[in-house]
């Protein structure tokens, strides 16, 4: 065992045992981040903050929420919203944060795509990030069921029913997921468990993994410049701060994050107090009723693009049922981002504006996702259905051509 000297202060006592000074260096003051960044690099800290808000507000809501189909609706809309002091505030914070976190996730994700921060050593950053997207989606979906309103019920009905499309075991799978033949009390309680325990724990674990994956390849920068982090850190530590291409996470990088966070929190709390309907759909203030189907069933906005890929295929093609084609397209849409690092055949890491075809590809993808999102909410009739069909088809084509166009970019540049 190591020999311990008598400590002169609590800090020293702890330092002897936990090496806090060393830990602080590794995690904070000597964790190096490129200097050449813009505010889009602050999305990680925004996400961490929003997730913290979700955890804290969620714990408070859980003290009064009752996961029972006869009690859930009133426990949310009466007890929490009207009786408990500031219950309404925490519910609004939770509901709005759940929606806004997806906006930030998407900005974070498309920043990564734009700057090529998912390849050439950064694949694990990308994959762990996409795993977070999947687990956050599951958390969003399971949480949306808890107030047991009309949209909770019918969205759960429609989405769980999708699993019936899995060959052979489909019907049994649906019953297994619901815990009943219908969406019922057993469904609510198991989604409650997922929402308050399994998914948050999984998310926290994957966040730790996501942070760790940054350690070796390091964070990308605005011009995708290759930086020798050891050499630049040396410069910084020897006082040559202006010339060094890196900055420490604490306090320099985080000071910029806080500035961005300040603006973000004003936006977020404005929504919490004055503009929350987009995140708390009015239809969900009708109690769940299995006898009355709402006129329009739609998921939350952040699922609309993939939902529209699903329902875009509304007619049978060459003997394949529309439902099955839609389901395959849906699976494609949800899986394809995960393998993005391997679809991009360009070996160079460059921002999109330095990759001519990829640049066009990126903005077409953005446009298509927005079209899918908007039409995912509209009633799928007449022209809307056809817009959905073409936008969904376009989505698939966009990803199929990615290997080709990235190769052409690379060849023209002479990288291949």
């Amino acid at each position: 065992m190591a020999k311990f000297e008598k400590a002169d202060s609590v800090g020293e006592w702890l330092d002897q045992r936990l090496n806090l000074t060393g830990l602080n260096k590794v995690m904070m003051t000597e964790y190096w981040v490129p200097k050449d960044i813009n505010f889009l690099w602050a999305m990680g800290v925004l996400l961490a903050t929003t997730f913290t808000i979700l955890i804290i507000s969620g714990m408070i809501l859980m003290m009064y929420y009752k996961p029972d189909i006869n009690l859930a609706f009133d426990s949310v809309n009466y007890t929490i919203m009207q009786e408990v002091a500031f219950g309404w505030l925490f519910r609004h914070m939770h509901g709005v944060a759940a929606s806004v976190i997806f906006l930030i996730i998407y900005i974070h994700m498309f920043t990564g795509i734009y700057y090529g921060s998912y390849k050439q050593g950064r694949e694990m950053i990308w994959i762990s990030g996409m795993l977070l997207f999947v687990t956050f989606s599951a958390a969003g979906f399971s949480g949306y069921m808890l107030p047991w309103g009309q949209m909770s019920y019918w969205a759960a009905m429609v989405i769980t029913n999708l699993f019936s499309g899995v060959p052979i075991i489909g019907d049994a799978l649906v019953v297994w997921i619901r815990g009943d033949f219908n969406v019922a009390d057993a469904t609510l309680t198991r989604f409650f468990m997922l929402h308050v325990f399994l998914l948050p724990v999984a998310i926290m674990g994957i966040i730790a993994l996501h942070f760790y994956t940054l350690r070796i390849p390091h964070v990308n920068n605005q011009n995708s410049e290759e930086i020798d982090f050891d050499e630049e850190a040396e410069k910084y530590l020897s006082g040559n701060k202006k010339e060094s291409k890196v900055i420490p996470f604490w306090p320099v990088f985080i000071s910029k994050d806080f500035a961005v966070l300040g603006i973000f929190l004003i936006f977020y709390f404005y929504l919490v107090f004055f503009h929350y309907n987009f995140a708390m759909d009015p239809v969900n203030f009708d109690p769940a009723d299995n006898m009355v189907t709402p006129a329009h069933i739609y998921p939350e906005w952040y699922f609309l693009w993939s939902y529209e890929v699903l329902r875009g295929f509304f007619f049978d093609i060459a003997g394949f049922k529309a439902f099955d084609i839609g389901l395959i397209a849906f699976a494609f849409a949800n899986g394809i981002f995960l393998v993005l690092p391997w679809l991009d055949r360009d070996p160079a890491i460059l921002p999109a504006h330095k990759r001519p075809l990829f640049f066009i590809w990126f903005w077409i993808l953005m446009a298509d996702l927005i079209v899918l999102t908007v039409y995912g909410k509209l009633p799928p009739t007449g022209t809307n259905a056809w817009v959905g069909f073409f936008a969904a088809t376009a989505f698939i084509v966009i990803f199929l051509v990615l290997p080709i166009i990235t190769k052409i970019d690379a060849k023209r540049r002479g990288s291949l």
């Binding site: 505010f39 609004h92 906006l103 701060k241 500035a259 309907n277 203030f285 109690p287 006129a295 927005i370």
Partner: protein, 291 residues
């Protein structure tokens, strides 16, 4: 700095386009615009300009109406309890004490003449089914006007939002959040009767201010068929003031935290603005050395 602002402009623009698409635009497609509420009820066969005489009306009302309707304020009590009267008529008949205040006079006249037609629910009363209240179109127009004048003369000047709701809505609708402990705000007509009468249980209105919102409630209560063709909900003929009171009551009950929310919001934003200013100053001081 310029680059950051350009990027911010792109992010904000894409966010706003998406927001516009999934919120205002999508909702305008799902809920087509309807004409504004009409509180004149000029399309009804109402008073047709006649002025009524309250004294003459009193005789007519007390001989024709009090067999079924109570007018408690004038000493005509309910003849049966709610359950029994619901069993007898299908729905508990309203007390007439406040009718002259709650309902538009032309609507009231039209309703007395032909209840199903005035309330736009004739489609419910086919195949030998008839409205529980018989029409009085056989009376003289002047007599109808006299009865309306009488009902107006006995109506209270002022009513609380809750009283308006109780008299105008509670025969069919519960609003349980108004009294979760004692349950006094359940519909007067028992569930089984009202279900039989309306075809389905009318919804509890506790959260309608949230699920429907002001704009929808205004046009819906004024004319239900405009939003829900074929609905069993009658057009009730509330005056603008009464309807505003009903909606205000729905808000008192369904969104009781509204005042607190609107008071606390600006304070939060001021504190956050201060936080943002300090954060920017801190950033400036930290980045001075590295640029």
């Amino acid at each position: 700095m310029m680059r950051e602002l350009k990027i911010l402009a792109v992010v904000v623009a894409l966010t706003l386009i998406t927001y516009w698409g999934v919120e205002p635009y999508a909702h305008s497609q799902m809920h087509p615009h309807v004409a504004d509420a009409d509180y004149t009820f000029s399309d009804k066969d109402g008073l047709n300009g006649l002025k009524g005489d309250a004294t003459a009306g009193q005789v007519l009302v007390t001989t024709n109406c009090t067999a079924c309707h109570s007018i408690k304020s004038e000493g005509y009590p309910e003849i049966m309890d709610h359950a029994s009267s619901a069993a007898a008529y299908g729905v508990t008949p309203p007390d007439l004490g406040s009718a002259g205040k709650l309902y538009n006079a032309d609507y009231l006249a039209a309703f007395i003449k032909n209840p199903a037609k005035a309330s736009e629910v004739s489609h419910k009363f086919v195949d030998g089914r008839s409205h529980p209240m018989p029409g009085y179109a056989w009376m003289q127009e002047q007599e109808i006007a006299d009865m309306v004048a009488y009902l107006q003369s006995i109506a209270p000047e002022e009513m609380s939002n809750k009283e308006v709701f109780v008299d105008a809505c509670q025969r069919c609708h519960s609003i349980k959040y108004a009294d979760m402990q004692k349950g006094t705000m359940a519909a007067f007509t028992p569930d089984e009767n009202i279900k039989a009468y309306m075809g389905k249980l009318p919804p509890d209105l506790s959260q309608h201010i949230k699920s429907r919102g002001h704009a929808y409630l205004e046009t819906f209560i004024n004319q239900p068929q405009k939003h829900l063709e074929g609905t069993a909900m009658p057009k009730v003929g509330l005056t603008k003031d009464s309807q505003d009171q009903v909606i205000a009551y729905l808000e008192e009950v369904g969104d009781s935290s509204k005042a607190k929310r609107e008071e606390l919001g600006p304070k939060f934003l001021i504190y956050l603005a201060i936080f943002a200013i300090f954060a920017f100053l801190w950033k400036k001081s930290k980045w001075r050395d590295v640029h």
